[in-house]
Amino acid sequence: MIPAAFDYVRAGSAEEAVSLLGEHGDDAKLLAGGHSLLPLMKLRLAAPAVLVDLGRVRDLSYVRDDGSQVAIGALTRHVDVQRSELLRSEVPLLPYVAGLVGDPQVRHRGTIGGSLAHGDPASDLPAAILALDGTLVAQGPSGSRTIAAGDFFVGFLETALGPDEVLTEIRVPKMGGAGWSYQKFNRRAQDWAIVGVAAVGAPAGGGIALVNMASTPVRARAVEQAVAGGAAPAAAAGAAADGLDPPSDLNASTEFRRHLATVLTRRALEEVAAGRP
């Protein structure tokens, strides 16, 4: 219930956070909203020696029109992504998905950057960013770099961020009115997805990404190709689990996950095709 003791330092900026991470090395973890990290620390599944708190870095919370894309500060809370008028009109998949993360209390604290940097394949936002072909911006000791979403999620709870890098911005292309869908299958409203599917229509790239079907969020490439080749939803969705070995756990067996993936992918494609009112 009570985390192991740690030292606590506050960063006033992304630069300062980078420098603090460099100073403390492996002993340090970044703290944003804390709703991925603190639950682990309370169960003592994680016990970093140093927490670098980004929570007061105000200028990393924003949603900006960036021409053909929308730029979102990494410390933008889920509730603010959910409410953003700009995102609702230009990238409607994202605020919808943000509104399904956790519960209202979680959404008042958790941040999009925190969720993405945590790299849990069962989280909702990583799959959405992946389907949207988003870009992540990371700041490190030698400056800023961009990482394509497809290269960002490397393994279970592992991203391409270096130990002294801070995620500062997420860029998502505007969807241009394309159809979209997010299918989240769970047993209780507050639960993680047992399996989830994020899909966008062709005008937005036709990306389809799966939640909790692998050690990272994954694109359902075979389905995307089938759709691009003109296949109807049911036929295309049959390939949803191709090449994947989904986890077997408390909530679903591997076989049931495969089945859910095809059903949910078909439903997502149907919803994409139907467009949005």
Binding site: M1, Y8, G34, K42, V79, P104, Q105
Partner: protein
């Protein structure tokens, strides 16, 4: 580390360990035991309070993170003259509590929900309270209470 957190209008300045959870700060350091702890996985919402006017699970916030913030707990919800908040009154009138353990968190979550979501429907209330667990009431009367309070508040 020294923090100053305003709780129910009162400034509370104390020296805290970085690892102290906000809920323990509220309960043990400040002595306001109305806010309860019901789990250790951020699932139950019994610890819900308002932080700068928004509902948060105080078990998933460090006291140091809340430095400079303004909190409202159940003890600070009624008016200074004792007049109950519409949500408190609605819970009473609709028998929305039994053992009372989930109640402070449930009430604070409801206050925040009503503020943020005008035109609440039953579905909206049930989903809005997905993060607040109750074992006694079966939620039926809690939902009634929240809808009644929302109507009164004119939301």
């Amino acid at each position: 580390m020294k923090v100053t957190i305003t709780i129910n209008g009162q400034d509370e300045s104390h020296d805290v360990e970085p690892r102290q959870l906000l809920v323990h700060f509220i309960r043990d350091t400040v002595g306001l035991t109305g806010t309860n702890i019901g789990c250790d996985t951020s699932s139950c919402g019994a610890c819900t309070i308002l932080l700068d006017g928004e509902s948060v699970k105080s078990c998933t916030v460090l006291a140091v993170q809340a430095d400079g913030a303004s909190l409202t707990t159940i003890e600070g919800l009624a008016a200074a003259d004792g007049t109950l908040h519409p949500v408190q009154r609605a819970f009473h009138e609709n028998h929305g509590l039994q053992c009372g353990y989930c109640t402070p968190g449930m009430v604070m979550a409801a206050v925040s929900l009503i503020q943020e979501q005008p035109g609440l429907t039953e579905r909206g209330v049930r989903e809005g309270l997905e993060g607040n667990l109750c074992r006694c009431t079966g939620y039926h009367n809690i939902v009634k209470a929240v809808l009644a309070a929302a109507a009164e508040v004119g939301a």
